[in-house]
Amino acid sequence: MAIGLVRKAAVMTSGTRTTGRSGMSVEEFGYLSGGPGRAAEVAIVRLLEAGLLRISREGVVSAVSTTAHGAATPLEAYALGAARGGRALGSLIKATAGSGALDAVKQHLVDRGFLVSPGRRRAWGLVSFIATLVGVGAVVAVGVADLNVGIAIVLVVLALAVRWSTNRMRRPVRRAGRREVNAVTVMSNDRVGIVAQHGLAGRIGNFPNTHRVWEMLGIAPSAGATLRRGKPGRRSNDGSTSASSCSSCSSGCGSNSSCGSSSDSGSSSSCGGSSCGGGGGGD
């Protein structure tokens, strides 16, 4: 299947990888664009497009019985196995986003400097917490310990600055990762690439003639309706979001609490909504 991801308006690629300097896979592009849920969506849609999965009108995804070895990546293999008995699309996305196969995708991105490691994010979180304590402590100390108001103001301003800075440092996607995402152009006929960039619940087209990505894929409205949009999270510049914006698909979030799948695209978007949700013999 041709994946029309082009880096720097250069080489069209085939298979499941982009070409270019980094050779980023479509799943990795999806992860950097929208988090683990997005990468899971990419794997599932690739299998749907290849006829290895089928989706029902009500949104139940099931593996097509075949002897062909169609899974091209470990993440696809996981999704294919998880859909053996039939599973609601949202549930399958969540399960795939929380799988060990996706951890491997994430680790690969961490190793290449595109994602911040969970340890580093925790460390910056601790710094942010301490800064908060200092700021609150300074305000309290004005009242109970006669701390000079000027010093307290300086401490509070410093604490706020540290918090702002550490929160930026805690963003899952690093600058190098954002550059990679920005360098990719998705061709208009590249359906899997479009999912990676926008997410299943994302909108494409020119206003006012926009439509959801799942509509472009021919997914039935009753199945598409199972992809709930989450509450908008705090905007960030890295295509991901804070944990609070993952409320509608908590298990779609990776261990680093980045969002399941943003419905907006690119490096400049926030995690506006996640593509998680639930959908859903005789003789």
């Binding site: 006829g51 089928r54 989706i55 029902s56 009108r57 009500e58 139940v60 099931s62 097509v64 019985s65 075949t66 039939g86 039935a220 009753s222 013999g281 005789g282 003789d283």
Partner: protein, 271 residues
């Protein structure tokens, strides 16, 4: 009671393959498991098929007509309501029991082929028929055991059932094959003994043989021997309908279409 109108070649509708069923070419009718439907909330796919004019036949699995317990009126009522909601020309269930003494077997269990058991079955079928808005067809099952002291062959048992209740027959040729493999029954004798003029339609399904036992899984490809039996039946009667059943491990659309084409080829080849 007259004969069943021509149905053609159909496929079992299942939620997982609803879009496939809608897409497949030349689907003349479909069958749904009645217990899986809510009359107030019919699946969109079923509604669409009905709008296209595709007959949708409810197939029940829980009436337990062979049970010594009285027929569950609520189950019959539900089956009738589904039939009316779908505008179905007939409904069906099995010659079996699935519960006894308050316990559900989880399987279609064979009825002892004795005159006493037949009396019970006939009484239950008559009760069901009296409370159904459309005719009832009954299906032969695949069994892994036969009760001892049987007084009738399966064909004789069904023939007498039809004679006493005027029900239709739904003949599953895969079940005939399974019983031939596992119990040593003679499918040709069965076909000789049943009243083929009361045939509503035919089931065809796949299975797998493991350690010398044939399992009627509905999750594997249809065996050539099953199609041979369909041909044998077709050489005796032109069945109003033939339906492909697939309940799990669904193959691609093209493979399902190929199995339906194979059924059509058998029907055409033995006409």
């Amino acid at each position: 009671m007259g004969a069943v109108d021509r149905l053609g070649v159909g496929i079992g509708w299942r939620a997982e393959i609803d879009l496939t069923v809608e897409r497949l070419p030349d689907v003349d009718f479909v069958e749904v498991v009645a217990e899986n439907l809510h009359v107030e909330h019919l699946p969109e796919s079923i509604v669409l098929l009905r709008e296209r004019g595709v007959p949708v036949l409810p197939h029940a699995v829980s009436l337990s007509l062979g049970s010594a317990d009285p027929v569950d009126a609520h189950r019959v009522e539900h089956l009738g309501a589904v039939a009316e909601a779908l505008g179905a020309p007939l409904v069906s269930d099995h010659v079996c029991f699935v519960r006894a003494g308050g316990l559900d077997s989880g399987h279609l269990m064979p009825v002892p082929r004795t005159r006493d058991a037949l009396d019970v079955l006939v009484a239950n079928v008559r009760t069901a028929q009296a409370n159904l808005p459309v005719p009832l067809a009954l299906e032969n099952i695949a069994a892994l055991l036969e009760w001892p002291d049987g007084e009738l062959t399966e064909g004789q048992f069904l023939a007498e059932l039809v004679e006493r209740t005027d029900c239709f027959l739904l003949i599953d040729v895969a079940n005939l094959h399974a019983n031939a493999r596992n119990l040593g029954t003679d499918p040709n004798r069965f076909l000789d003994e049943i009243p083929l003029e009361r045939l509503a339609y035919v089931h065809v399904a796949g299975g797998v043989e493991t350690d010398g036992v044939y399992h009627d899984t509905h999750a594997h490809a249809v065996h050539p021997e099953v199609l041979d039996l369909l041909g044998e039946l077709r050489s005796r009667v032109d069945p109003p309908g033939v339906l492909l059943e697939r309940d799990d491990n669904y193959p691609s659309d093209s493979e399902l279409a190929a199995e339906m084409a194979a059924i059509r080829a058998v029907l055409a080849g033995h006409g």
